[in-house]
């Protein structure tokens, strides 16, 4: 899909089974959601970022760029809670803003947790091409082929929709169509672009679907697959690595706590 997101080398993590990787990462995701201790959240974020650097197969500068973008994730996840969260030990108040000790740490916790989620998500996205995921889901998790092939075909059709958008824009420009500014201009944009592009997408998708049905892509019988997907020793390795990573984060949080707050949720009155 995106040239930026093409790895420079394939690591063993790329070879692990995509559905298994997805399952493991969803479990890790749930562990992160359940995390209430701020230290554990910090170390989870750190550990998964370390895994990204080590095993994602991308050059360090690219991973660094992505990790830098986490700072935006951190700010947007934490700021509202820091400024407007509940709390009793008020540090600073100005108008509607009200920063208290509790809200501050709760905000930091949310920020670090968001970074952990982002790293987990990227670990999956950066090591798994979409096509492989759908082939694996069909073969290992019995996803009906019509769903998988619809997704894969739609992803290919997207680039045609983009091309049509460009053509539409040029056609409108060459006819000197001007839209107003502000809200009415926005609505006019919707009318000029959304309806032709959507109706054309529907027509094309329908046509492609009829062709695919004729070729039995919707069939429910036994079928063969162009990309066979199986389990291998890399799967064991991947599971082991993620278990070690999580355990490392847990013990590091117990051994070297930075904040020492076990539960950041609000329990007081008010």
């Amino acid at each position: 899909m995106n040239r930026f997101l093409t790895p420079s080398r394939l690591t063993w993590l790329h070879r692990a089974n995509p559905s298994l990787k997805l399952a493991v990462l969803i479990i890790l995701f749930i562990v992160t959601v359940q995390t209430r201790s701020i230290d554990f959240a910090v170390y989870q974020a750190a550990v998964y970022i370390a895994v990204l650097f080590l095993f994602s197969g991308y050059p360090a500068w690219k991973v660094s760029l992505l990790v830098l973008s986490f700072s935006l994730v951190f700010v947007s996840s934490s700021l509202t809670m820091i400024l407007f969260g509940k709390g009793d030990h008020v540090w600073w108040q100005w108008g509607l803003f009200r920063v208290s000790e509790e809200s501050f740490y709760r905000g930091l916790h949310l920020g670090f947790r968001a970074i952990a989620f982002a790293a987990e998500g990227l670990l999956f996205v950066m090591t798994t091409p979409s096509v492989k995921l759908f082939y694996s889901l069909m073969q290992n998790f019995r996803l009906p082929p019509k769903f998988a092939y619809s997704f894969m075909a739609s992803i290919r059709l997207l680039s045609i929709v983009w091309e049509e958008f460009l053509i539409r824009r040029q056609a409108l420009r060459i006819r000197g169509v001007r839209t107003g500014r502000g809200l009415s201009g926005l609505l006019e944009h919707v009318r000029l672009y959304a309806v032709p592009l959507l109706s054309q997408s529907i027509r094309r998708a329908h046509r492609v679907a009829v062709a695919m049905e004729a070729k039995q892509f919707s069939g429910s019988g036994r079928r063969t697959y162009y990309y066979p997907s199986a389990f291998s020793r890399y799967d064991g390795l991947a599971v082991l690595m993620f278990v070690i990573a999580l355990a490392a984060a847990y013990y590091a949080a117990a051994a070297v706590p930075w904040f020492g707050i076990e539960d950041v949720r609000y329990h007081g009155q008010g």
């Binding site: 899909m1 969803i26 992505l66 994730v73 709760r106 982002a118 998500g121 009318r191 109706s199 949720r265």
Partner: protein
């Protein structure tokens, strides 16, 4: 043959063409939202919580697909597919959005199911959009401790979100559906109804 037995002959569930149309529509909307979101991120510090006013865009995919295709399961699938765009683009929010997508899609699906997939008006679409908004609130509570915001902030944030859901997923989706109906493409999609068979009988 009378119309009721004709209806039973129709294969139940979603056909490949329903799936493909739903998913492609949702991906297109997901892409629009993705680029809109990147612009939005830059203005975020200027207009406080302004992103909530656009939040309903997320639910547009499911109500639009449901209004167009009018079959069970479409709303949920559309929402999951729209969330999938963020995974495709390697967004930092990818996995989280998949969870949100499932919750929001299920909520919208529930509303259409309550009307037994018979009523596809603007009001139902707006209700479905607001249900999705509520679904996203539940995930927020679990995931972001939003009930730990000061009370006025909770109300402010989620009232804006509900309004935006009703307008974008309700009004906009309905308007788009009407416009698409005028182009004639919806005839490709919708299941044949008893009314269509009656029209044949009277000929």
């Amino acid at each position: 043959m009378n119309s009721s037995t004709m209806q039973l002959d129709r294969p139940k569930g979603l056909k490949l063409s329903d799936l493909l149309v739903t998913i492609l529509l949702s991906l297109v909307i997901g892409v629009v939202y993705h680029f809109w979101g990147s612009v939005n991120d830059l203005f975020k510090p200027l207009f406080f919580q302004a992103d909530e006013l656009m939040y309903g865009m997320w639910f547009l995919a499911s109500t639009l697909a449901a209004l167009l295709i009018r079959k069970p399961g479409v709303a949920l699938l559309a929402e999951v597919a729209a969330a999938h765009v963020e995974i495709l683009f390697g967004s930092e929010w990818g996995l989280q959005l998949a969870i949100y997508g499932v919750a929001q899609g299920l909520a919208a699906e529930l509303i259409f199911a309550l009307f037994r997939y018979r009523k596809f008006s603007m009001g139902v679409a707006a209700l479905a959009g607001m249900a999705s908004g509520l679904g996203s609130f539940l995930v927020d509570v679990y995931y972001g401790y939003v009930t730990d915001y000061t009370t006025w902030m909770i109300v402010f944030k989620y009232v804006m979100r509900l309004i935006s859901s009703a307008v974008l997923a309700g009004y906009l989706a309905y308007a788009l559906t009407k416009a698409l109906e005028a182009t004639g493409v919806t005839q490709l999609l919708r299941p044949v109804t008893a009314k269509d068979y009656e029209a044949l009988d009277h000929d």
